[in-house]
Symmetry: C2
Subunit: 244 residues, 2 copies
């Protein structure tokens, strides 16, 4: 799907100009980074989802240590878009936890923490999704693929952005026929109990704070130090997470 | 090393009764859970470290959203012990980020989040340590093994506790001769770039907030929901993280 076709079909979903722009920017960024599974192909998938094109998320609690947002029936992308804009407009004095209830789908989480890191903030973000990963011993799916993304600003330019899903393949790979459904298991082979444990921990963290529907939890803080340049030097040119 | 010998040798390190009790309880818990690498054998290792037996950590900033602690020259175990006691004594109204500067060694992180979860709080904790994991493409060590531990309370009894190091083996395994030094790499085999990315993200998260020496970052929050019983049911008796 081309960029122009994606925009046209997003408009046809009843989304307003701002929402179309936010979604298109997310998909275009994924395409540029070679994450085609999070790119324009997602527009055809959005057309199959049940959501309210007019809905926008609402901030329902705003304390210094915690904000709570309700995605209502809006697309999760737009929930995170509004949260990122809000955090950048009013950054925490020190640190803030942001809980997003009813926040699905959330796209490539690295996109959101990168924007926060480009705005000078340290950010860690996780989000749940329909249960797709089984226990390493088999059985029904117990958790989502539950990525964890971490973004760190740097004085030497681009932030470092880690964005790791706990699945050996992505659901997008399965949808696109690039992987078999039985390959969608916790990553790690003989150590898959580790990725499974992370998926369970993140699943329950989000569920305990945001409730039974897929949601997201963001931790954002002002950095006190600038550790990226020294790590880049130590890496001697080897690729760090999130580098092109 | 026996429990009695461990206590005697801890006392000989110049630690007061409270500190000896806290360390002994940590090691005894690790022994009970079959994590011998975090158990009494660590006392011999502590005897080789440079620390101040009289030092106790200090809380240097206390805002609603963030606390900052300085471990000074105390053992990291005692920094986390004081932080856990403090959080349980004065839990956050909603959520709190706790940054611990100069906090090493930190032991089995699951121990700390389990105590917080047993106290009714959701907790996520990570900590850095000397650089031991190289890039998947080789080269010098770039990050610590940087575990992430997540504890979730449950109305049906024991909390779920995930505690995952990013190494394929532990440094303790190498010290004990159970693993070769070249096996201490990011876990995951063909997907080791994922564990490496998590290790880098957590390394920089801690370093950006706590500074260049090994430190720890804890996020603690009051749960709004109780997702563990439903997950236990769905798992049909399969072992969840942290279960005996």
């Amino acid at each position: 799907m081309t960029s122009q076709e994606a925009r046209r079909r997003l408009e046809a979903l009843g989304l307003d100009d701002d929402a179309v722009g936010a979604l298109h920017a997310h998909f275009a960024d994924a395409e540029r980074r070679g994450k085609a599974g999070h790119g324009f192909s997602r527009v055809a998938w959005l057309e199959t989802l049940d959501f309210d094109g007019d809905a926008r998320p609402a901030r329902v609690l705003a304390e210094e240590g915690l904000e709570r947002w309700d995605g209502s029936r809006a697309l999760g992308y737009l929930v995170l878009e509004d949260i990122v804009r809000s955090v950048l407009a009013e950054p925490p004095a020190h640190a803030r936890v942001v809980v997003a209830e009813r926040c699905f789908p959330t796209g490539a989480l690295g996109y959101w923490v990168r924007r926060l890191a480009e705005g000078g903030l340290v950010a860690a973000l996780t989000a749940t999704s329909p249960r797709r990963l089984p226990h390493p011993a088999g059985g029904p799916p117990l958790t989502g693929t539950n990525p964890l993304a971490i973004g760190i600003p740097s004085s030497d330019g681009a932030p470092v952005v880690a964005d790791v899903s706990m699945g050996a393949v992505t659901h997008g790979d399965v949808l696109a026929g690039r992987a078999r459904p039985d390959e969608l298991v916790p990553f790690g082979g003989e150590h898959s109990h580790k990725a499974f444990a992370l998926a369970v921990g993140l699943e329950l963290l989000v569920a305990a704070l945001a409730g039974p529907e897929p949601g997201a939890v963001l931790v954002v803080a002002r950095p006190e130090h600038d550790p990226v340049p020294a790590l880049r030097e130590l890496a001697e040119g080897r690729r760090l997470p999130g580098e092109g």
